[in-house]
Subunit: 426 residues, 2 copies
């Protein structure tokens, strides 16, 4: 069943890459996904057959993870912190040219990117807010690898507090990782994804590929009878070997974050959900509880399992843009904000060739563009975008048929640049 589910999951992207149906053609409400008592077979979105990961059923599943898999709550509390609105009607007409050379407007980009929700904050006020698909202002959408940036921020907090030393080895914090490829990597190498781990983040792999094995371990795919691989996110990370010398170029590998999460949980003394609640959701006055997808033994998937309200993602970005201050409190010390907003080693990033991020870098589980913008990025179009110069924060959830943002950035990056320019012009 693992093979079936993950093969289905992974076969989907190549199959539809040529000419996928449009956002309008895959509207989950119009398609009646998960409607009916009971839901007819063709409209079902399920975990146990892998269909929750297959486009266009992802268009429902990405907004409804709690109904599909077990989740750990990230509790909020107290009054909701205000996010004033000053909506502008002139942004939909903002024109730009995609990196593929196609003219497009901001309004058109919404559907072109299969956007489920997007909010633009300019100088702290909501100037644009739009929802579609199975998502809405009261929903929670999976943030995919945007989750990693929260784990990285917690690690930077622990470094700032002197509880973590970025120069020490991973094994010195988590002895269970000593025999793995991570053991002799430094925490900094983990944070910046400059480890040499025998893992290929290839979403087109077949059978028991690395990504498929990870899908089983994390609980994303159902168990397979007779499968003897690791159970649990941490056990999966502990089972990965080395493949060269640490400290080389940036290579995007999700297990780095799984190992980092393990360090953060061990040193922070609490599960990821509890730390995110105490550090961010409660003091920031988030408007909704968030959730984290968990594996079969309750470990959260810090590599990509966060589900949250769109405006709470915007609050997190705006808090960072404002130097760590939000809701009348200093959520992050300025030094941590500095660590997040500062670019990493551009030379280590130079060979990645991500469209629209030329000259950029990756550090502390955050992405940096050459223009000074910092981003949390997740597959299928998830993101938090912080542009300090333009006093701009954008949060977006999407269910694009293609996983990699290499296919999505050619629309996203020039669209964001055009809106930043428009908002800065007045």
């Amino acid at each position: 069943m693992l093979i079936r589910a993950t093969a289905a999951l992974l076969a989907a992207a190549p199959a539809i890459a040529q000419s996928p149906p449009t956002a309008a053609q895959t509207d989950p409400a119009a398609a009646g996904l998960m409607q009916g008592s009971p839901v007819p077979a063709e409209r079902q979105v399920r975990w146990d057959d892998g269909s929750m990961w297959i486009f266009p059923k992802t268009r429902w599943a990405f907004s409804n993870q709690q109904a599909l898999v077990p989740t750990a709550p990230i509790a909020r509390e107290g009054p909701v912190s205000p996010l004033p609105r000053a909506l502008r009607t002139d942004l939909d007409a903002v024109a730009f040219t995609t990196l593929a050379g196609k003219p497009m407007t901001w309004g058109e980009a919404f559907d072109a990117n299969y956007t489920d929700g997007i909010v633009v904050l300019h100088r702290g006020r909501i100037v644009y807010e739009r929802y579609a698909g199975a998502f809405g202002p009261h929903g929670r959408h999976i943030a995919m690898s945007v989750t990693k940036s929260f784990v990285g921020t917690l690690a930077e907090l622990l470094i700032h507090e002197g509880r973590l030393d970025e120069g020490r080895t991973v094994a010195s914090y988590v002895p269970e990782l000593a025999a793995s490829g991570f053991g002799n990597a430094t925490l900094r190498q983990l944070l910046d994804m400059r480890t040499a781990i025998a893992f290929s983040e290839d979403y087109a792999g077949q059978g028991l590929s690395d990504v498929n094995r990870m899908a089983f371990a994390t609980g994303m795919a159902p168990s397979q009878p007779g499968f003897t691989g690791p159970t649990g996110n941490f056990a999966f990370a502990a089972g990965l070997g080395a493949n060269g010398q640490h400290g080389g170029d940036f290579v995007y590998r999700t297990p780095n974050t799984m190992a980092l999460q393990w360090v953060v949980e061990r040193v922070g003394g609490a599960p990821l959900a509890a730390q995110m609640s105490e550090r961010f959701w409660k003091p920031m006055g988030m408007e909704q509880d968030a959730t984290l997808n968990v594996d079969r033994i309750g470990t959260a998937f810090g590599g990509g399992g966060l589900n949250a309200a769109l405006l709470d993602m915007a609050r997190f970005g705006e808090m960072i843009r404002k130097g760590g201050r939000w809701n009348g409190r200093q959520i992050l010390p300025p030094a941590v904000v500095g660590a997040i907003l500062s670019p990493g080693d551009a030379a280590a990033f130079a060979n990645t060739k991500y469209p629209g991020i030329e000259g950029g870098s990756y550090s502390s589980q955050w992405w940096h563009r050459a223009g000074g913008q910092t981003m949390a990025v997740g597959v299928h179009g998830q993101g938090i975008y912080i542009d300090p110069k333009a006093e701009l924060v954008i949060a977006r959830f999407a269910s694009h048929p293609i996983a990699t943002n290499r296919a999505i950035n050619p629309v996203t990056m020039p669209a964001y640049d055009a809106v930043a320019a428009k908002l800065s012009r007045r």
Copy 2:
């Protein structure tokens, strides 16, 4: 795996019935259940090995269903409706004699019943409130068959609105049930559990017993390769045959509620979670979202899958005690409240021999004692208790090692009576 999980689940109660460890000995925090990064094997509470249903791991699992199984949210909104406190310190000393003849105090009954949370409302004010185990005021605890009373209340609402006719057959509303044992039963027979269905609610059955098959269909237990039984709550109900004539004595069978839920969803035009949100959680100003455990195709388990805050259970009971009015709104019309609070056919109940409910009855998915009290009741000690004469409402969650309330009522019923007498005396 189904066999393993459900056999483990079902074997637990008889094995520990003789002399189970006490509440203090099974405190989930002291036992370190689900603590650690990752959680060590002996402390894990899991769905896929059935341990979540085995005492004492239930002491954690009953308060953390969302982290174990997929759940549908029941959304609240707006300001929280107030529940004033007028705490009394004299209740713990209230003495009574259990139906087994043992002297006990109210305070002692808390642990004797493995209580996770209990709140007593007298004349609308909280006079007693106490939590333990893995539960607390901000948690959600599984309500087990207390869930059924919510389904029954929705059905009574639809009857009052003329959308359901209690004299019509089940098949006239849900044609898919026509060939099942439920098909020619009336809605009233379903509501009062007076159908003759080939299903034994025997929690000590082995192998592919009725309860084990239900556990698979509802997703309570993991799938078994090669298992060809029904998938989904509704499919399970549709697969049950008849066993005699409807309209006889009350016999407690959970599938009645699964069929009733199907009628309520079909006629109400929305899934159970949405109807509970719109009818109760939003207008009543509940303080927390609730959740419903769902099967593999997203159908809620209306037979027992509600997870909620204790005080929200108390609000629901108090709303009924106050004639359906709560939070400045008429939540239930007086006629529906009358239907809920009125006893059913005592003769049909006479042979059940539930301790402490002698002379009682069951109607519209609610239980009635001879003294005029109305109860929502779930296995392992869950309950909402409404005593109009004493102006009393009690909500309780527990994780008693024994499922049936036949084993729990001998403490509960005289304890409730003693507190009612104490509160009425002043």
